[in-house]
């Protein structure tokens, strides 16, 4: 049974995404909407990780390395400026999508296992992850023409 592996992956990925949101928000604090929204979403990711904790314990904990590798690759160094903001948000977009598909996988497994409690957590959190992705896309779409065409 590999559910523990995926739970460990998602648990770690949410913790890392929380850290990523916080770091990107801090690096671009002059974009005040980015700063505040990143902080809000960082807390949301932490709450996701907390909600997963009992299931990590229930199914045993495995710690795949991929979320750590992904975190280091994406967030060890954040950038500055308009183009930097787009690239940093793109990194958040990648990590949030890694979480999103993991929620889907765990949702599938929770149905197969008839684990209602886990399914409830998945239902509550996967919508929030989807909204995080939607926000990143909305904000990046807004910024792209100005950044790519006009900003120096």
């Amino acid at each position: 049974m590999h559910l523990a592996n995926y739970l460990g992956y998602l648990h770690r990925a949410e913790i890392n995404l929380a850290e990523g949101f916080r770091k990107v928000g801090d690096s671009h604090a002059e974009e005040v909407d980015v700063y505040h929204t990143c902080n809000t979403l960082s807390k949301q990711c932490e709450a996701h990780a907390d909600k997963l904790q009992p299931f990590v314990e229930r199914y045993g904990e495995e710690k795949p390395e991929e979320p750590e590798n992904l975190y280091h690759e994406l967030f060890d160094e954040t950038r500055s400026g308009g183009l930097g903001l787009l690239r940093d948000m793109q990194d958040l977009y990648l990590m949030a999508n890694a979480c999103d598909i993991s929620w889907t996988m765990i949702g599938q497994a929770s149905q197969g296992a008839r684990d209602r409690e886990l399914l409830e957590v998945v239902n509550a959190c996967e919508n929030q992850t989807a909204a995080q992705i939607k926000w990143l896309k909305t904000r990046m779409k807004q910024a792209a023409p100005q950044t790519l065409l006009v900003a120096s």
């Binding site: 974009e31 005040v32 909407d33 505040h36 929204t37 902080n39 809000t40 979403l41 308009g82 909204a131 995080q132 939607k134 926000w135 896309k137 909305t138 779409k141 807004q142 023409p145 100005q146 065409l149 006009v150 900003a151 120096s152």
Partner: protein, 708 residues
Amino acid sequence: MRENGELVEASWDEAMGRVVERSKEVLEEKGPLAFGFYTTGQLFLEEYYTLGVIGKAGLGTPHMDGNTRLCTATAAEALKQTFGTDGQPGSYADVDHADTICLYGHNVAETQAVLWMRMLDRLEGPNPPKLVVVDPRPTPAARRADVHLQVKNGTNMALMNGLLHEIIANRWYDEGYVAAHTLGFEDLRTTVEEYPPEKLAAICEVPENQIREAARIIGESERLLSTVLQGFYQSHQATAASCQVNNIHLIRGMIGKPGCGVLQMNGQPTAQNTRECGANGDMPAFRNWDNVEHIQELAELWNVERMKIPHWSSPTHAMQIWRYAEQGSIQLLWISATNPAVSLPELPRIREILEKEDLFVVVQDIFLTETARYADVVLPAATWGEKTGTFTNADRTVHLSEKAVDPPGETKSDLDIFLDYARRMDFRDKDGGPLIKWYNPESCFEAWKECSQGRPCDYTGLSYDKLRGSSGVQWPCNDEHPDGTERLYADGSFNTETDYCETYGRDLLTGAESTEVEHRALNTAGWAFLLAAEYQPPHEEPDEEYPFSYTTGRTIYHFHTRTKTARAPQLQSAAPDAWVELSPADAESLGVGEGDVVRVESPRGRLEAKARISGIKEGVVFAPFHYGYFDSDGPPRAANELTITEWDPASKQPLYRVGAVRVTRISDSGGMPAPAPTTTASAPSSGVSVPGTAAGGDAEVEEIVGKE
């Protein structure tokens, strides 16, 4: 025009020549995205529409907004999110029919005095309505209220969830209406379950029994009128909280019937037109920027290529326009009829932006405002009474305002200035004809009618002749409704059809936009959305260093930044200078007496003013936002020196009602009380003796009724 650092007089040819020359340079070097337009809620419909077409189809910039972003953006956003498009459901006439009136963050006696008179007629007459007021200050309306919920700043969302909790738990809602006309009730019910009165009493710092009593009055009413204004719109979770007012009406089935209205109010006289005409962050006639068919309609109407009209994301909101100017990617900023050097948040930052070398600033106004002093070119504009045009108020009533006197000197109407710019820039349609095909207010109104056809704000049944001699007609006015429409949504059918709506929806927490596909999947069939949201604490809360909560607002004697009202001697003498309000308990702990001078500081700036000890909520400091520097060279006194650069994620309206400050006493009163009016929410608290505000001989009028 600015020459060698000084503003000097110039002819129209010279001034417009300079604007056009710089426009062409910027267009050549950086393209249309380097242009920003920041307008107002105080021009006429025809002027906004012309400006909108110049920006969107002449230059092709998405960076157009108004100071309406500061006053009415949340009204528009809450209406769009709940009902599918902008458009006020109710009517002022609902005041005459209501059995209960709720004022949410709306100091109506000072912001809309005529509307308050209409309410007073009811309150003083037979069968007066019940009155519920949500406000941290003891406003004139709050003093008349059956229940005054003196909430802590920034907690509106918790309060609204609590009221909805009580209405649902006591089954005061209309199950039939909810089932037939709304989407999202289950989500709303589960969300508000977490907000029982005892919990939110602690969050909002309001007694539990008052919350229960307010909810009972609302829940047992039969004809409920709700109005909402800046106490909600400029506060934390603005759109989310304002949507909950809509939700109360929807779940009670109280919409579209006499006395049952929502009035999401406007802060300025023609803010409604800014929203309708696309001179703010919207497309004309409530079209959806994300709906290709809607943009195609505009392209055909204006005879331009669809690609010319920026519609790749939602039009840029004001705070982002200023951010782009700060970063240097907007290089020409054209400001009309507004005074951002006093009215925007965090003024030290705004002054720095206006001073930037690489930003060409055009200011078009009736007086040399604080902002005009930073301009490269100042265009002197006429005011209402000196020009003709239409304006539409918050309940959709369209009026014709005819020119009464000639404008002074060489002043031109805003319409003529915009038309002159379009001519000089030689904006063309795709067949080489002039882009702007109208030449005066009436011909522009006819063009606008065509633009509005088939949309919620349909003007096609109106004409200048029809408006002349009437006291206004409420849109939509068309073949189907030749006499206008008193209330929207009487049949419970809303503007949420995917092909018709103005927005595909937003997440209230982040502002994330939904797509057409997602919207279509909801299969709305004209149902309204019951949008739910959790309460989140404000981002900046009082702490040890800055222990007070800061809020700004208005007084009846002044409008906006006093550009006009400071020049009316009677108004000026009633409220001649800035002040700050403190509660008696806070004043005592600070050792501050009435009229003592205090310094108020936030992490962003400071002001100095005399203190008024008033009935304001303990822990809250208030400053009126009107006072700038055109008639004062004393210490900083503008309330916005202190405010925070932050905005609501959905409506993008700046948050003037949250923030933390500290207060220090700097000198005694010298025997003079604060210059705050005593007739308003600024009245001194009981036990503080201050001479009353009097109109004086200048304001006396004699009315002779009947023939002499």
